[in-house]
């Protein structure tokens, strides 16, 4: 097992370092692609912020940098990536490997199949953790995000760590990684309720006496708030003012930068009447938020599944999604190998996603460089991309409900069902 893991990680690291060194122009090429780098995760913008920060100018002055302030001291420790890219490349490779490690921990915990309150009837159907990690490490989307050095790789790492720690019942590290993930990109905060339930379930099943749910919730919520405030306070100390809030979270909330991306927001808001812009910003954000309580209540018995589905929803419905967010969701789906036989549209969904991933760059090229297409071309492809992910999300939801039914009423197993 260890040998297998070492082999896998070694191969993944080798592939990354090979791509970094054999194609020195590849990182900056990918970093310029709208599918990979969004205004809030772009490495080029990070470098701009870094330059200003190193020269003692507020990094948010230029209106280019929209990422968390604490990334700056971290990256200023590394040598300048335009001259000595190796250290940065190594950092991103390590980030991916750590993420894969966290994913293996999640897979090993078995929480995707057997939780405290539910037990899938297909529990024997599962991939081992190395296979799950391989599907993360060798996913082309993950690779692209890593080579482009998008900072969403860091967010993904901390989300995976939070999942891993929650599925181990390790409260402190869980809260810490979730708060860092939220601090970096805000929307992972919505993962807190399902992961809290996950953490609670694991703790309850480990110990003889289940802790009181109320005090457990309060303690963890307070801890999360305290860590988040601590991170923000340190950022404010570092920046000398609170203006970074509007430049980072304000940008994510209010969408001032309408650079195209794979999401649905940018086109909608370029077309929006100015007077309704704020209203629809509210509607779109509430749409993202509204899934969380419903899913958490309905699938209370399978919190890890809820968290996975939420990452999928983030990959489709947040304002600045990139393929890195899609990679996170796609790498979590193999944890639910036992649901695959129940999914009805897996061929359609994978075909749609593949279709969008090939035609997306083509249509973007037609629009921006060749000039023979227009924005609608690219937007249509992002719609198809989002449709593909919606199919996966909806289909897997159907599968998980079907699986639940099989547990409740084993006599119906294998029979056709209809909703009434």
């Amino acid at each position: 097992m260890d040998q297998q893991k070492a082999l896998l990680f070694g191969a993944a690291a080798a592939v990354r370092l090979f791509l970094f060194t054999a194609f020195p122009s590849l990182p900056s090429l990918l970093a310029g692609r709208v599918e990979v780098s969004t205004p809030v995760t772009s490495f080029k913008r990070l470098q701009e912020g870094l330059f200003l920060y190193v020269h003692n100018v507020s990094p948010y002055d230029g209106g280019v940098y929209h990422q968390a302030p604490l990334l700056l001291p971290l990256f200023s420790l590394l040598p300048n990536p335009s001259h000595y890219p190796f250290a940065t490349n190594l950092l991103y490779t390590a980030v991916d490997l750590l993420g894969a490690h966290a994913l293996m921990l999640v897979a090993d915990s078995g929480q995707s199949i057997t939780t405290r309150l539910s037990k899938s009837s297909r529990k024997d159907l599962r991939w081992n953790s190395a296979a799950v990690a391989a599907s993360f490490l060798f996913n082309p989307f993950t690779l692209a995000a890593c080579i482009a050095r998008s900072t969403s790789a860091l967010t993904n790492l901390f989300v995976l760590l939070a999942l891993a720690k929650a599925s181990q019942g390790a409260s402190i590290t869980f809260i810490l990684s979730l708060s860092i993930a939220s601090y970096l990109s805000m929307h992972p905060l919505l993962l807190f309720p399902p992961l809290l339930i996950l953490c609670y379930d694991v703790r309850a099943s480990k110990s003889k006496v289940a802790p009181s749910p109320l005090s457990f919730t309060i303690v963890h919520a307070v801890a999360l708030v305290v860590t988040l405030c601590g991170l923000l306070y340190v950022s404010a100390l570092l920046m000398g003012s609170w203006e970074f809030l509007s430049a980072t979270y304000g940008v994510r909330l209010l969408l001032p930068d309408l650079t195209p991306n794979v999401g649905l927001w940018w086109y909608f808001f370029t077309e929006m009447f100015d007077s309704f812009r704020e209203f629809f910003l509210g509607v779109f954000w509430l749409h993202v938020v509204s899934y969380m309580p419903g899913l958490t209540i309905r699938l209370r018995k399978q919190p890890l599944y809820v968290a996975t589905t939420l990452t999928g929803i983030f990959a489709v419905f947040t304002p600045y999604p990139s393929i890195a967010d899609a990679a996170l969701y796609l790498s979590l789906v193999p944890l639910f190998r036992h649901l695959f036989p129940l999914m009805r549209y897996s061929f359609l969904a994978s075909a749609v996603v593949l279709y969008a991933s090939f035609l997306g760059p083509t249509f973007y090229h037609l629009w921006i460089y060749a000039g023979s297409g227009n924005a609608n071309f690219f937007y249509a492809i992002t719609l198809v991309w989002s449709l593909g992910f919606s199919i996966i999300i909806g289909d897997s939801l159907y599968a998980v409900l079907r699986d639940e039914l099989d547990v409740e009423r084993p006599e119906l197993r294998g029979k056709e069902v209809a909703r009434i």
Binding site: S275, G294, R298, L397
Partner: protein, 576 residues
């Protein structure tokens, strides 16, 4: 919304035979499924479903509604609507034009006062226009040294420093000639009245020929101004066109038409005008003109005299090989005149807008264009067919002069530079055109009086324009409740009312220069408020269109939400 169905509806089964059967067997399968009812839902799953539906509704109600309320609320700054309407209806301030006329007479004080009183009576009798009246005051120039007046020792000229004196009447006793007779000085606001001493009215008499003569003269001088002002009042001000109509001077139809022509010809008032003098020639000559010295001689003095009303900037240009517009008829050769002629109806198309670089506006103010066209030798002289003239005015745009080069002897080269002398006639034409473009009235003959008349006319039009703009804004605000009103508009309105009030005060005291300044600011502020950009964005957005904005996205979301909510409420009611 993949979730709405998945999460809010439970999955239950039917017998395998029913669902796998073909569509034709539906009646059969219905019968079967009615015999084999699915087992009742467990209490737990019912409650989970209710909670899920409730959670969606809570998000909508607790977060969605406040967001909707907050983001679609239209900010409307408080406007003094009643005040604004009052201003537009002239309820706050009736503009009056009390003109002070200083009478200067080397008479005993008693006689002078007497003359003044009788003349004033005569003037008041003649005046039909209550808003505009003349008040005679005695300039005690001979008796006391009034600081504001200065008597030049030789007695030929009296300059009054006080700008608020509209006109000085100088009574000069003479022995010869027909008396009384009057002479209006062309370059000073002074009316010389010659009389014989026996024409001074006695204290007892109520009328005198001298008094009525002076009154007649004054009335004649200010007749056009009264006509202009009453025209303005009747067209722009609602109060005067309504019940109070008898107060206005009634104008004859032809007079109204004449004034209308003047107003349409003149440019809209601006605090700064930009003058462009352009020389166009279809050939390579003349390639230069002594425009600078010409402007200094002919135009600058004129502009200086207007400085109290508007400012001017000037630029010039020379364009060679610039043919006039090709869309009009080519000039025809007229044997009788030995000249090339342009038809009158083609004059409006003469300007070659496509090729001549006459920019519509440079800087802030409107541009007044003066085009000097020098035809080529082969088409010279070029005249207007109907009247043989060579210049015309384009209303609200500028003027054109065709300058025919002097006929050259054969073989001798035409001079390439237009000298000052050659330009003089053109400059006279331009000056006249500029005066009528600026709206300077035709009478009286004295330039300072014309200017002060123009000042009052401009002041009145600015004043009415500002107050009617405010009224329009007030009506707009009432008529369109959907437009937002930013704070900037409220501030502009405040400033407008303040400056209008100031202008009104100045008017009542007869200080027209100050009133003009305030009216100018008021008008600019009122325009700024009315044309505020963020307001008009919503004007064409009626409420019906909001349905089109909300429905496509929110409708599909709302339907499952509503249906699920209704279903849950129904089942709750049934159970209880």
């Amino acid at each position: 919304m993949p979730l709405a169905e998945g999460a809010s509806a439970p999955v239950t089964s039917q017998s395998s035979s029913t669902t796998s059967s073909a569509a034709g067997a539906t009646s059969d399968s219905n019968a079967q499924s009615s015999t084999r009812q699915p087992p009742p839902e467990t209490k737990e799953s019912i409650w989970v479903r209710r909670l899920v539906v409730l959670s969606f509704w809570l998000v909508v109600l607790l977060l969605g509604l406040p967001v909707w309320w907050k983001t679609t609320a239209i900010y409307r700054a408080e406007l003094p609507l009643q005040d604004m309407t009052d201003w537009a209806d002239d309820k706050v301030c009736k503009p009056v034009f009390p003109l002070r006329v200083a009478v200067e007479a080397s008479l005993p004080l008693q006689d002078a006062h007497n003359l003044l009183r009788t003349t004033q009576h005569a003037i008041d009798d003649l005046n039909e226009f209550s808003a505009h009246h003349l008040r005679l005051i005695l300039a005690e120039s001979h008796n006391s040294a009034n600081a504001s007046q200065e008597v030049v020792s030789d007695g030929t000229r009296v300059t009054t420093d006080d700008e608020d004196i509209a006109l000085a009447v100088r009574l000069i006793p003479v022995e010869t000639g027909t008396t009384p007779r009057a002479h209006l000085q062309p370059y000073a606001p002074t009316l010389d009245v010659y009389y014989t001493p026996n024409q001074i009215p006695t204290p007892s008499s109520t009328g005198s020929p001298l008094a009525s003569f002076i009154a007649q003269e004054l009335h004649k001088i200010f007749e056009e101004e009264q006509a202009l002002l009453s025209y303005l009042l009747s067209t722009t001000s609602t109060a005067y066109s309504g019940k109070t109509k008898p107060k206005t001077k009634t104008l004859s139809a032809e007079k109204t038409a004449e004034i209308e022509r003047q107003f349409t010809r003149a440019l809209k008032y601006a605090s700064t005008y930009h003058l462009t003098f352009s020389l166009f020639s279809p050939t390579a000559t003349p390639s230069g003109w002594e425009i600078e010295s010409v402007l200094k001689h002919y135009v600058s003095p004129l502009l200086e005299s207007f400085s109290a009303i508007s400012n001017f900037t000037v630029d010039t240009q020379v364009q060679l090989y610039a043919e006039f517009s090709p869309s009009i008829h080519r000039p025809e050769h007229d044997e009788s005149l030995n000249a090339w002629t342009l038809r009158k109806e083609d004059l409006s198309g003469f300007i070659n807008a496509a090729e001549w670089p006459l920019s519509p506006s440079i800087g802030t103010g409107p541009t007044v264009n003066f085009v000097l066209y020098v035809p080529g030798q082969d088409q010279s002289p070029l005249l207007i067919k109907e009247n043989g003239g060579n210049s015309w005015l384009i209303p609200q745009w500028g003027g054109v002069v065709i300058l025919n080069p002097p006929l050259q002897d054969e073989g001798k080269q035409a001079s390439t530079i237009l000298t000052e002398d050659a330009l003089a006639p053109a400059m006279h034409a331009f000056s006249n055109q500029l005066l009528s473009l600026l709206g300077l009235p035709q009478t009286p003959e004295s330039l300072p009086l014309k200017l002060s008349t123009l000042k009052r006319v401009r002041l009145a039009s600015l004043f009415f324009s500002a107050s009617s703009t405010m009224g329009a804004l007030a009506r707009l605000t009432n008529a369109l409740p959907s437009i937002p009103i930013p704070d900037a508009v409220a501030q502009s309105i405040d400033s407008t009312t303040k400056h209008l009030q100031e202008a009104c005060n100045h008017l009542h005291e007869g200080r027209f220069q100050g009133a003009l300044e305030h009216a100018r600011i008021a008008e600019a502020e009122a325009e700024k408020a009315f044309f505020e950009r963020s307001m008009v964005g919503q004007v064409y957005f009626p409420d019906e269109h909001k349905v089109a904005v909300y429905l496509p996205l929110l409708g599909p979301v709302a339907v499952p939400l509503l249906m699920a909510g209704l279903k849950e409420i129904k089942s709750l009611l049934k159970r209880s």
